[in-house]
């Protein structure tokens, strides 16, 4: 696959196959994901978007019976090589899930948790917490109540907290799996604006069922169907003039 991205390639996947037991869930996926851009994964339910996303930080390692073949390189490093430290990998490749999942502790401690684990000194922690909450577009709403439980925040605030928590450990890549599906339009708009800001400093991959969301915020779009990567291209091209009929049928809602 050619690599003519303005900022170069962050993630290079070649010939990736994945099985859950006998279920061959991903078929020979090859894709280059560009640096400092937003790449959206779209496709009908069960096509393998989340499975593929989890391949990018080895979250599938945790699933019994899951077998993977192929290459995944992040910034030139083979992440499936034996000497990769998986904990360190998941710090470099952070993940935000569909349902906000704050830890049952204070706002401050939610953010401080990661940096503490990674051995950051106590006196630096407060600065990191503030920086991450600002980058997560939440600081203004919580700066005067850092001690309250994170579970007392609204869903949209919790999701931004989870994003801030991911940012606090300074990742290179952030994977989002349907981050807005449990949020109202206003919170969704805030997360979208935030994602657009974050791409200056991070490479972002987002799974979304909301076609308009993919169209609005992504630079590149990948369309998956039944475990195959059908089409990958600039979002403008995919939504204005897709090459594949299946892509067109899906994005125009003519599927099935």
């Amino acid at each position: 696959m050619s690599d003519d991205f303005a900022n170069g390639t962050e993630i290079a996947v070649k010939g990736l196959n994945l099985w859950y037991g006998k279920n061959h869930a991903l078929h020979d996926i090859s894709i280059n994901i560009p640096k400092n851009s937003v790449t959206a994964f779209i496709g009908p339910s069960g096509c393998g978007k989340s499975t593929f996303l989890r391949c990018l930080n080895r979250m599938n390692d945790l699933i019994p019976g899951c077998r993977i073949e192929g290459d995944v390189n992040i910034n030139g490093e083979d992440i499936y090589s034996k000497d990769v430290d998986v904990v360190d990998l998941r710090k470099r490749v952070g993940m935000v899930f569909q349902k906000p999942n704050p830890f049952p502790m204070s706002i401050h401690d939610n953010i401080a948790y990661g940096p503490r684990i990674h051995g950051i000194k106590k006196k630096e922690i407060d600065g990191i917490v503030e920086g991450a909450l600002k980058a997560g577009a939440l600081w203004g709403e919580v700066s005067d109540r850092m001690g309250i439980s994170a579970l007392d925040l609204s869903g949209g605030q919790q999701q931004r907290l989870c994003i801030a928590r991911t940012l606090a450990v300074k990742p290179e890549v952030i994977l989002f799996d349907e981050p807005c599906s449990s949020l109202d339009p206003i919170s969704t708009g805030k997360i979208e604006d935030l994602i657009l800001k974050l791409k200056k400093d991070y490479t972002i991959v987002i799974v979304t069922h909301n076609m308009q969301q993919a169209a609005r915020i992504s630079d590149y779009t990948a369309f998956f169907l039944l475990g195959d990567l059908i089409e990958f291209g600039k979002t403008g091209q995919i939504f204005e003039n897709p090459r594949e009929k299946a892509t067109e049928d899906y994005i125009t809602g003519r599927f099935g």
Partner: protein
């Protein structure tokens, strides 16, 4: 929800239209100067610069398909986007007519060129209407749009009067038939430029109020 990127995209579209509008006005104005002063170089410049205007048209079309495909504009934004496509067509046509006038500059025989006061008045009015229609677009000024479109009646009147005068002159003096018939075309082109300005004014009214007005 600010949708910064989307708002920027709309701003870019508006800027393309105003820039294209300024260039169209310039072409119309230059083409008339080239005709009146028999300036072949200026006429050639108008013809060459039409390429840039065509490029603007393509840029605008592309910008609009991206906006529709990716941002699903609604309400006033939607009226803006659909109107911009129409306005770009009107501006592109107006510039083509300026090129037609510039081509006539090159055909006219110098010795017989005689400034024709009504042609000058028409071209002043046409230019002004086009300019004001773009200002009305830029400032979303419905009143200015309506006022500008109302000037079309005067353009039409001048067109019929001058056409009649010119035909009478030609039947009295066969030596001016060549230039005279070219001038008839110029009259027609100016009248159509004013019509395009009117169409733009209608688009502005639609953008501002949602009303589909018939202003000419």
């Amino acid at each position: 929800m600010t949708r910064e990127q989307y708002l920027q995209h709309l701003q870019i579209l508006k800027r393309y239209i105003t820039e294209m509008g300024e260039r169209s006005c310039q072409s119309v104005s230059d083409s008339m100067i080239s005709l009146i002063t028999q300036d072949m170089e200026l006429a050639e410049k108008v013809i060459q610069k039409d390429m840039i205007i065509d490029e603007y048209y393509l840029k605008i079309e592309k910008c609009i398909s991206q906006l529709i495909a990716r941002q699903s504009p609604t309400a006033g934004d939607m009226r803006l986007v659909t109107s911009c496509l129409k306005i770009a067509v009107d501006l592109e046509r107006a510039s083509d007519l300026a090129v037609d006038i510039a081509r006539i500059t090159k055909c006219i025989e110098e010795k017989h060129t005689k400034p024709f006061s009504n042609v000058l008045k028409m071209s002043e009015l046409g230019k002004e209407m086009l300019q004001h229609s773009i200002v009305a677009f830029d400032t979303l000024d419905e009143e200015l749009a309506r006022k500008t479109a109302a000037k079309d009646d005067e353009v039409d009147r001048l067109f019929y009067v001058s056409q009649k005068e010119l035909i009478e002159m030609m039947s009295g003096d066969r030596s001016i038939i060549n230039n005279g018939s070219y001038l008839l075309f110029v009259l027609r082109y100016l009248e159509r430029i004013a019509d395009h300005a009117c169409n733009i004014c209608e688009s502005v009214v639609y953008m501002a109020s949602g009303e589909r007005a018939n202003l000419n």
